[in-house]
């Protein structure tokens, strides 16, 4: 989230789209209810299903699964056409005035720079127009120049009229216009709106572009950086934010630094190529905070390799694994199945072993038959979990998953029993970026161990083997710093101290006059002291830091993530004394944009930061150099332009969002039938990668989660199994009638991957739709069942049906939109 949970209570309008917050975040959702009760805020829900969030909404609009970009672009068009956007904000804080290269165009579903052989874009065609005489980039502050971003955006969304929105989304025109009116009522200084989203946006082949469209809308409305505003991702797991913060996916290191690619052989090249170059446009200079990359990267290397890392050996850069291919989920399992991997250096064998910790690939991966088949190709598999999950028993998957007979499977499977969430301490970082320490409540049963002990003991055993037997690049293991008091079970407080970072030598303030050798040196930090902020990090190896974003969470004052002081002087729910939020305990990111050109709050009743004539003051921690006067730097300090991107020249599938059909398209794309789906999102080609057509599978299917359950492990919990005792299929009333299926009867759902069967839940909450002039049905499946768990509460894996399809930027699987057909269920076996 750019903002936070409590901050939602400050909103005048809450748009809940691409997610079901009442369902999946009932505790955080209380702040939306609070906004409704205390400021009569309006909750707007746009969703294919009338969900439990819709049940308490002021406005509900039904939307065809996957058509969110059409809807959002429609609102953008409406905002521009009706002048319902925050013009002053747009001119001050976005790249609306920037001029774009003459080469840039959009035609017939493709942006310029398309290479049909590589199926990717050459983004040089999307560049800003440089102005060589000023050494900056060309801008038009009046927003009139036809090549400026604002005019190009206007042109791009022009096709998304209310009629076209209705045609693409199935939302009746009047309903869409009502939503647009309510949402754009925040496009001014007096009002502010927030957008919350979750997997309903991320799990699409155009997922990143859906989020982009929302970010563009929020920038237009002037809602980013303001209390009650922002673009707010509701993370799914209680510590998934912490997980990604610490480098939870292959292409990032902790603090969202880039994992080095194999074509960057040394640290200098890495630091040359990776951090973005400052782009100084008009009217403001760009802080381009990522220019501090070297400080973050070197400090991280010092944390990883300790004393072994020095300037002479590139701080151990050569010991870091480099990415030489795509190691994301979809590719990993594809290579596992095929037994071969495409790497920069050529084709290599596929992965032979997998450690899965707190993760259930057989359950959660798309195309379950492919997942199970892939696992059976491994030589060994280690499952770290506190239940015997589907992955731990993949060879016993029921026959409909098409797995090989157990006798033919050579995989050696280990299960290491792990601790549950109440059985361990440590910090959880929530969606609001609050790093909250939590304490252990009960001991883990039997031989279960906490994650840190499991990982530490594996590491120590592996290191021992490298010491005794050598191996390929032993330094990468032998030189890892592992100085915990208890190396086999590191105290997580110690780990958090390491993440926060410390001074390795005495650190002095830079001299005011470098020429004056007599100027007394002012000591900032003594050697060994915890650092207070990432501003103290250095690129010369004198500081160590496991994650620059977390610096300040564990200082000499102690573990600030344990703070529970609920003082809230501003009344805006910032709670600066409650735990520590990254970065720098700032609660609302980009808060420079909460004030106007003179540094005065847009809305005095909801101030973020304000300029007092000499420096920036609260209530929040300024996201700006504290003494930089209002006209000096652009608000979006993490971007090289310093301006919010209405036009984003860096994404794999385009600088503007465009409506594409899903990888299994329900219809030909009326906007550009020749390029129906996202051209950058690829398909896979093993025998198990089957894709259907709308002719064979005329019904759109979506998958989702329920309040009562959490993924695949709550089917082990008796009380929760009471509340949601079994798998079901939600069907619209009319469709059920046409198919001869009554509520409570068994129904079969079939896709190109396979079929499953469950109880039909016939409902009014999935209504009929007319899409592209024709009726189109959609159904939904909750995902929480599988073949292991409490007796009487097993069920089919929803992922039996989902396709091998993914987002073009993040490779997140497209779970939310695929094609199926229905049949009456087969009679259940009586035992």
């Amino acid at each position: 989230m750019t903002n936070g949970w409590v901050d939602i209570k400050n909103a005048d309008v809450i748009l809940a789209m691409g997610g079901n917050p009442a369902e999946n975040h009932p505790c955080g959702f209380k702040w939306a209810i609070e906004a409704k009760k205390t400021r009569n805020a309006k909750l707007v829900v746009v969703d294919p299903r009338f969900t439990r969030t819709a049940a308490v909404a002021d406005v509900y609009a039904q939307l065809r699964p996957g058509s969110d970009i059409a809807f959002l672009n429609g609102i953008i068009r409406y905002a521009i056409e009706n002048k319902r956007f925050h013009e002053e904000y747009v001119k001050l804080f976005t790249n609306a005035p920037y001029l774009i290269s003459e080469k840039f165009a959009f035609d017939e579903g493709l942006f310029s720079g398309w290479d049909d052989t590589t199926k990717s874009y050459d983004k040089a065609a999307w560049a800003y127009q440089p102005n060589p005489s000023t050494n900056t980039y060309d801008v038009d502050p009046t927003l009139q120049n036809p090549r400026c971003v604002f005019q190009l955006l206007k042109k791009h969304v022009d096709r998304y009229t209310p009629e076209m929105v209705e045609r693409l989304t199935g939302t009746p025109k009047e309903t869409f216009l009502n939503v647009a009116k309510v949402v754009t009522s925040t496009g001014n200084a007096e009002r502010v709106g927030t957008i919350t989203y979750a997997l309903g946006w991320t799990q699409h082949s155009v997922g990143v572009q859906m989020i982009r469209a929302a970010a563009m809308l929020q920038l237009l409305l002037g809602n980013v950086g303001r209390p009650g505003g922002g673009v707010n991702a509701l993370r799914g797991h209680s510590n998934i934010q912490g997980c990604t913060d610490m480098g939870g996916t292959f292409e990032i290191l902790s603090g969202y630094l880039a994992t080095p690619r194999s074509e960057l052989p040394d640290l200098d090249t890495y630091l040359q190529k990776v951090p973005p170059k400052t782009l100084n446009g008009e009217p403001w200079a760009s802080m381009n905070y990522w220019q501090n990359y070297p400080k973050f990267m070197v400090s991280l290397l010092k944390a990883l390799y300790g004393k072994a890392a020095s300037k002479d050996n590139d701080f151990g850069y050569s010991w870091l694994p480099k990415t030489d291919g795509n190691y994301s989920w979809m590719y990993l399992f594809d290579e596992m199945l095929r037994g071969s991997s495409n790497r920069a250096g050529g084709v290599e064998p596929g992965p032979e072993g997998l450690v899965t910790a707190g993760m259930n690939p057989a359950g959660i991966g798309p195309n379950a038959p492919k997942m199970i088949a892939a696992l059976s190709k491994l030589k060994w598999l280690v499952v770290v979990d506190n239940y015997e999950i589907e992955t731990a028993t993949f060879w016993k998957a029921p026959p409909q998953y098409g797995g090989a007979p157990p006798a033919e499977i050579q995989t050696e499977v280990f299960q290491l029993p792990a601790s549950g969430f109440a059985e361990k301490d440590g910090s959880f970082t929530n969606s609001a970026r609050w790093i909250q320490w939590k304490w252990k409540a009960v001991d883990a049963p039997g031989q279960s161990k906490p994650d840190q002990e499991i990982l530490a003991r594996i590491f120590l055993a592996v290191r021992d083997l490298y010491q005794k037997e050598g191996g390929a690049l032993p330094e990468a293991v032998l030189n890892v710093a592992w100085t915990y008091t208890n190396p086999a079970n590191p105290d997580l407080g110690e780990v958090l101290r390491e993440i926060n970072g410390k001074a390795l030598e005495d650190l002095f303030e830079p001299p005011k006059d470098p020429k004056d050798l007599k100027e007394p040196k002012k000591l900032l930090k003594a050697a060994g002291q915890q650092l207070d902020s990432f501003g103290q990090l250095r690129a010369d190896g004198s500081t160590s830091c496991g994650n620059w974003l977390y610096t300040g969470c564990y200082t000499e004052a102690g573990n600030l993530t344990q703070r529970r002081n609920n003082a809230d002087p501003s009344g805006l729910g910032m709670f600066h004394q409650w735990t520590f939020s990254w970065p720098a305990n700032r609660r609302v990111m980009y808060n420079r944009a909460s004030a106007d050109g003179a540094g005065k709050a847009w809305d005095p009743s909801r101030p973020g930061i304000q300029w007092n004539g000499e420096k920036w003051g609260g209530p929040d921690v300024p996201d700006m150099a504290p003494d930089a006067p209002p006209g000096k730097f652009g608000a979006f300090i993490m971007l090289p332009e310093g301006a919010g991107r209405l036009f984003a020249p860096v994404l794999a599938d385009g600088p503007f969002a465009e409506h594409y059909e899903s990888v299994e398209p329900a219809i030909q794309n009326p906007l550009h039938p020749k390029v129906t789906s996202n051209p950058v999102s690829r398909r896979f080609s093993t025998k198990l990668d089957k894709y259907g057509t709308a002719a064979e599978f005329p019904i759109v299917c979506t998958t989702y989660r329920l309040t009562e359950m959490y993924h695949y492990w709550t089917k082990n919990t008796g009380r929760l199994n009471q509340l949601q005792p079994g798998f079901f299929v939600e069907l619209p009333e009319q469709l059920a009638k046409e198919s001869g299926i009554a509520n409570g009867e068994q129904v079969r759902v079939i896709s190109a991957r396979g079929e499953l069967q469950g109880v039909a839940m016939v409902t009014k909450r999935l209504g009929p739709m007319t899409v592209d002039g024709k009726p189109l049905w959609h159904i939904g499946l909750p995902i929480h069942w599988g073949y292991t768990g409490e007796e009487g509460h097993l069920g089919p894996l929803a992922n039996m049906l989902t396709p091998s399809a993914m987002d073009a930027n993040t490779w997140t699987p497209e779970f939310k939109t695929f094609l199926v057909r229905l049949e009456k269920g087969r009679p259940l076996k009586t035992s």
Binding site: P26, F29, F50, V56, D58, R719, L720, P725
Partner: protein, 291 residues
């Protein structure tokens, strides 16, 4: 279960309660705002956990609702109802549990002395020691709440967490509710809260919003905000609940009448005997001599 500390206002099948009237207590109340309920069922689980109720076997029959109705081991149930209105679809959710009526029909119907009590704070509770498991309370309740437990042979229902309340805590369901749709306090405060919310709903277009606190049972300890207050039946609530005629008739009229009739009969028999003496045979032989 009986709370020693709390005085009893009314007691089943007893002519009067044991209240000394010395301690004046505020009536407590549970406030439910159905317009902000998200049907998350935290309250269902909290109630079971606090009261140590067994896990109940359930089956997916095509609804989000956990069970069709309350059970002896399930005292608190969210009722779901999809309802079309002119303005669009609504998914109404109401927390169903004992209403803790001021005039409890269960207490009136109960033939076992002291099996059902109403404490001075308004909470209606079962005393299992005195309960004979006859099930008449189920007939007496206009909300269909009490349930006979085959396991214990006694009646079971929501106790408004009288054990927690007596210790100064709020009921378990209130504590568990994540969205603040449930509140607990004095009846006066909860009614005030309800009226405030009803006003807000009316201003937002729900012209028929009302606070459900039915006078037919003297008002209820549980007050419920209904956005569509003109149709409580959509929420599974009776429109104008009263203690059933069969119970009130039998307990308030027939029973006193019956007691009076028995008493009058005994008095009549005695009086007659005093006046008329023992029965004399028709042929003049003295009494006590057989013929």
């Amino acid at each position: 279960m009986p709370i020693q500390g709390l005085e009893v206002l009314q007691s089943s099948a007893s002519l009067r309660g044991q209240s000394t009237g010395l301690r004046v207590m505020d009536k407590v109340s549970k406030y439910i705002d159905t317009s902000t309920c998200i049907g998350c069922k935290a309250c269902e689980v909290a109630c079971q956990e606090w009261n140590d109720l067994s896990v109940v076997p359930t089956q997916q029959v095509g609804t989000y609702q956990t069970l069709p109705t309350l059970q002896a081991d399930f005292w608190n149930l969210i009722r779901f109802n999809e309802q079309e209105f002119e303005g669009g679809l609504a998914w109404l959710m109401r927390k169903d549990q004992c209403m803790h009526c001021a005039d409890p029909g269960c207490l009136e119907a109960c033939p076992a002395p002291g099996a059902i009590v109403q404490y001075a704070n308004g909470i209606v509770d079962v005393n299992p020691e005195n309960c004979i498991g006859c099930g008449l309370c189920e007939t007496g309740c206009p909300f269909d709440v009490p349930r006979f437990s085959a396991k214990t042979g006694k009646m079971a229902k929501c106790t408004l967490c009288v054990d927690r309340v007596d210790s100064g805590l709020e009921p378990a369901c209130i504590k568990a509710c994540p969205t603040g749709c449930l509140h607990f306090g004095t009846k006066e405060d909860m009614v005030a809260l309800g009226h405030e919310r009803v006003k807000q709903l009316q201003a937002n277009g729900f012209a028929n919003a009302m606070l459900y606190d039915p006078p037919g049972v003297g008002g209820t300890g549980v007050v419920t905000v209904l956005a569509h207050g003109d149709k409580p039946e959509l929420y599974g609530l009776p429109k104008d609940p009263h203690v059933p005629l069969s119970v009130s008739l039998s307990k308030r009229i027939l029973k006193p009448l019956g007691i009076f009739a028995i008493g009058a009969t005994l008095v009549g028999l005695f009086t007659h005997y005093m006046r008329t003496g023992p029965k004399k045979p028709h042929d003049g032989t003295p009494p006590g001599t057989g013929g």
